[in-house]
C-alpha cells in the first residue's frame, strides 16, 4: 500500500513534466505559452511563500520586496547584454536572499501576527524608497534591452525548469528534518525551541530560500516583460497575490501552492480580462470562504472529498473515518501565534 502511493507520488509529477516538455512541440498558440509561462512564474513564488508561510506559519505581506529586488537585479545585469540571463537570474536570487536576511534579522524577533504587520511596513517603506531613487528609473520605470533575439520557447522552458526545481525543493524540505522543524515552529514555537529547534535560525533559513526563489521569479518576469517599474514589481498587490496562491491551493503542502498558482494565473490572465471590475472581489471572496469553510484550501477540500468517497466505497455510509491528513492542514492555518517577544 505504502509503496504504491509512493510510486504514484513520483509517477504523476513525471507524467506532468513530460507532458509540459513535449506540449510546445505539439503546437501551442503563443497565448497559451504565455499563460503557462506566467503560471510557472507564479508557481515559483507561491511555492516559495509556502515554505515560510505554510510550513513555518510565518505570514509575510512583504514578498513583493524580493520579487522587486530580483526583477531589478536581473534587469540591470541583462540590460545591454552585460551578463548571460541565466547568471543574472542566479544573481537576482542571491540578492533577494541577502535582502531577506537583512529584513529577517530584526523582524523575526517578532512572532506571528506582529511579524506579519512588520512585513507590511518593511515592504511599503522599500517601495517608497524604490520609487524615489534614480537607478530604478523612478516612477517611469526601467526598460531592458536584450542583445539576443526574443525566443518565447526559451522563456517557457527556463521558467518550467525553475518551477520544477522549486517543487523538488519543497518536496525535499517537507521530508527533511528542516521541514519538520518548520512545522514544529508553526504548531508551538516554544515547544519546538525546547526540543532542539532554533526557531530564529530556521525561520531565517526558510525566509532566505523563499526569497531566493521569489527573486528568480521576479527576474524571469522582468526579462519576459522587458519593462519594469517600482510600483509594479514592488507593489503591495504583488505581495497579496503571492500570499493568496498558497492559501487558496492549500498551505503546508507541496501541490497546494502549485494548484493555487495555476488558479490565480488563470484568474489573473483570463477571468480578469472579462471581469476587470470584479478582480479584487474574486480574491477577497475566495480568501473569506477559505478561512471560514475550508482552511486546507483546494488540497484540503480534495482530501476531504477523497476521504468521503473512500468511506462510502469501503464501509458504507455513516461510519466515521479516521481523518489525519486534512486535520494537519487545519493545524497549519489555525495554529495560533503568540505575543510579541524575542
Amino acid at each position: 500500500m505504502k509503496s504504491r502511493s509512493l510510486r504514484w507520488q513520483f509517477l504523476l509529477p513525471a507524467i506532468l513534466l513530460a507532458g509540459l516538455l513535449v506540449l510546445p512541440e505539439v503546437g501551442l498558440s503563443p497565448n497559451a505559452l504565455r499563460l503557462l509561462f506566467v503560471s510557472f512564474v507564479w508557481i515559483i513564488a507561491s511555492l516559495a511563500w509556502n515554505l515560510l508561510g505554510g510550513y513555518a506559519g510565518q505570514v509575510s505581506f512583504g514578498f513583493a520586496v524580493f520579487n522587486g529586488i530580483g526583477a531589478y537585479v536581473a534587469a540591470m545585469l541583462i540590460d545591454n547584454g552585460r551578463l548571460h540571463p541565466y547568471l543574472a537570474f542566479l544573481a537576482a536570487g542571491v540578492a533577494a536572499a541577502i535582502a531577506s536576511v537583512l529584513i529577517g534579522l530584526p523582524t523575526f524577533r517578532l512572532r506571528g501576527p506582529y511579524f506579519a504587520i512588520a512585513t507590511i511596513g518593511v515592504s511599503e517603506a522599500i517601495r517608497v524608497v524604490a520609487t524615489n531613487v534614480d537607478f530604478t528609473g523612478g516612477a517611469s520605470g526601467y526598460r531592458i534591452t536584450e542583445s539576443r533575439q526574443f525566443n518565447q520557447l526559451e522563456h517557457y522552458y527556463c521558467a518550467m525548469f525553475v518551477a520544477a526545481v522549486a517543487v523538488a525543493t519543497t518536496y525535499l524540505i517537507s521530508r527533511h528534518k528542516f521541514g519538520l522543524g518548520l512545522m514544529a515552529i508553526n504548531q508551538d514555537e516554544d515547544a519546538a525551541a525546547d526540543s532542539g529547534v532554533n526557531p530564529f535560525a530556521y525561520k531565517l533559513k526558510a525566509h532566505a530560500i523563499a526569497a531566493f526563489f521569489t527573486g528568480i521569479a521576479g527576474g524571469l518576469f522582468a526579462r519576459y516583460a522587458a519593462y519594469i517599474h517600482p510600483n509594479g514589481v514592488f507593489g503591495f498587490h504583488n505581495s497579496v497575490q503571492i500570499l493568496l496562491m498558497p492559501v487558496i491551493g492549500g498551505l503546508g503542502t507541496v501541490w497546494g501552492p502549485v494548484l493555487g498558482g495555476v488558479v490565480v494565473g488563470v484568474i489573473e490572465e483570463e477571468i480578469v480580462a472579462y471581469f476587470p471590475q470584479a478582480h479584487l472581489l474574486i480574491y477577497g471572496g475566495l480568501l473569506i470562504i477559505i478561512v471560514l469553510f475550508e482552511p486546507g484550501g483546494i488540497v484540503g477540500g480534495l482530501r476531504r472529498l477523497a476521504r468521503w468517497i473512500r468511506r462510502v466505497l469501503e464501509r458504507g455510509p455513516g461510519t466515521p473515518a479516521a481523518d489525519t491528513p486534512s486535520e494537519q492542514a487545519d493545524e497549519v492555518l489555525w495554529g495560533t501565534g503568540s505575543g510579541p517577544g524575542r
Partner: protein
C-alpha cells in the same frame, strides 16, 4: 528656522495628531476586546469617506456634519460584518492568522465594492471655506483642519466617557483586562464584542469621513493611514485610548519635523520604518518604556 516656524510646525503636528487619534482608536478597541488586528480598517475608512461625500453632494450637508452623520451608519455596517463574518472566527486571546486573512479578504472586497459603486477617479469634498485660515499672531491655522481636529477630539472624548461611565464601557474594559473573569461575572462577551466591533468600525468610518475634507480620495484610499494606525497603536501599547493619543502625537511630530530634512516623498517610508522599529524595540509601547524607567529609578 525661526521660533515662529517651529510654532507653526508644532500646531500643524497637533492638528494632525487629532485626526490620527480618531483613526486609531477604532483599531485599538477592536484589538483590545477581540484581539483581532483589523486589516480591513482602511477599507472602512474609504467607505466612510464616500458616505460623507454622498451626504455632502446629495443633501448638501456641511462636511463636518456629514462626517458625524457617517458615524452611526458605519456602526451598523460594523455590527452587520461582525454578525455575518467575524463571530465565526475561532476565539483566542492572541491574534490569529485566520483573523488576519479574513480581515484582509474583507478589505479586498470593500475596495472592489468601492470601485464598482464610485469608480476609480479621485474625489474630494471641496467647499468655499476649504482654504480659509486663521492668523494667531505668527501662527497660521487652516480652519478646516481646526474643525476636523475639534470634531475628532470631541468624539474621542465621548468614547473615553462611554468607556469610563457606562455599564457597557465597564464591561468592555473588563473583557480587555481578563476575558475569562469577565465571562464568569456574567458579561455576555459575544454581545459586547459585536458592539465593540461596530463602535470600532464607526470610528474608522468617522476618521475616513473627516480625512475626506482634507485630502482627495479613491477606493484605494487608506493604505498609508492603515500603517500609520499600526504605528500609533503599537506606540500606545495596543489597548488604551490615552495611549493612542500619545502615539498619535509622537507620530505626527516625527512626520511633521522630518519634512525639514527629507523630501516629502520619503515621509511614508519614515512611518513604516518607525513601525518596524517600535515593534522590535518597544513591543509594550511608550507606557512600557516609562514603566521600565521607573523600575530602574
Amino acid at each position: 528656522m525661526t521660533l515662529a516656524d517651529i510654532a507653526n510646525l508644532v500646531v500643524a503636528a497637533v492638528l494632525l495628531a487629532g485626526i490620527y487619534a480618531v483613526m486609531s482608536v477604532g483599531m485599538t478597541v477592536i484589538y483590545g476586546v477581540m484581539k483581532i488586528v483589523n486589516l480591513a480598517h482602511a477599507g472602512f475608512m474609504m467607505l466612510g469617506a464616500y458616505i460623507a461625500l454622498e451626504f455632502f453632494e446629495r443633501l448638501h450637508l456641511d462636511p463636518i456634519l456629514a462626517a458625524l452623520a457617517t458615524f452611526p451608519i458605519m456602526v451598523i455596517v460594523g455590527g452587520f460584518v461582525h454578525f455575518t463574518l467575524v463571530r465565526w472566527l475561532p476565539r483566542s486571546d492572541q491574534p490569529t492568522l485566520p483573523s488576519l486573512l479574513l480581515m484582509f479578504g474583507l478589505w479586498l472586497v470593500l475596495q472592489n465594492l468601492g470601485y464598482l459603486i464610485w469608480g476609480n477617479t479621485d474625489r474630494s469634498i471641496f467647499t468655499p471655506r476649504t482654504f480659509d485660515v486663521i492668523h494667531l499672531g505668527p501662527v497660521v491655522i487652516p480652519t478646516i483642519r481646526l474643525y476636523v481636529f475639534i470634531a475628532g477630539l470631541g468624539c474621542v472624548l465621548l468614547l473615553e466617557a462611554l468607556l469610563n461611565w457606562t455599564w457597557f464601557g465597564r464591561a468592555l474594559r473588563a473583557l480587555v483586562q481578563n476575558p475569562y473573569a469577565g465571562r464568569i461575572v456574567g458579561i455576555d462577551d459575544e454581545k459586547i464584542a459585536g458592539l465593540t466591533f461596530g463602535l470600532g468600525i464607526g470610528f474608522a468610518g468617522l476618521a475616513g469621513a473627516l480625512l475626506a475634507s482634507l485630502y482627495s480620495f479613491n477606493p484605494d484610499f487608506g493604505r498609508p493611514f492603515l500603517i500609520r494606525a499600526f504605528v500609533i497603536i503599537v506606540l500606545g501599547g495596543l489597548e488604551s485610548v490615552s495611549g493612542v493619543a500619545i502615539g498619535a502625537l509622537v507620530l505626527a511630530l516625527v512626520e511633521t519635523f522630518t519634512i525639514i530634512w527629507l523630501p516629502a516623498g520619503y515621509q511614508l517610508a519614515i512611518s513604516f520604518g518607525l513601525l518596524v522599529l517600535v515593534l522590535i524595540v518597544l513591543p509594550g509601547g511608550i507606557a512600557s518604556l516609562l514603566g521600565r524607567v521607573r523600575r530602574l529609578a
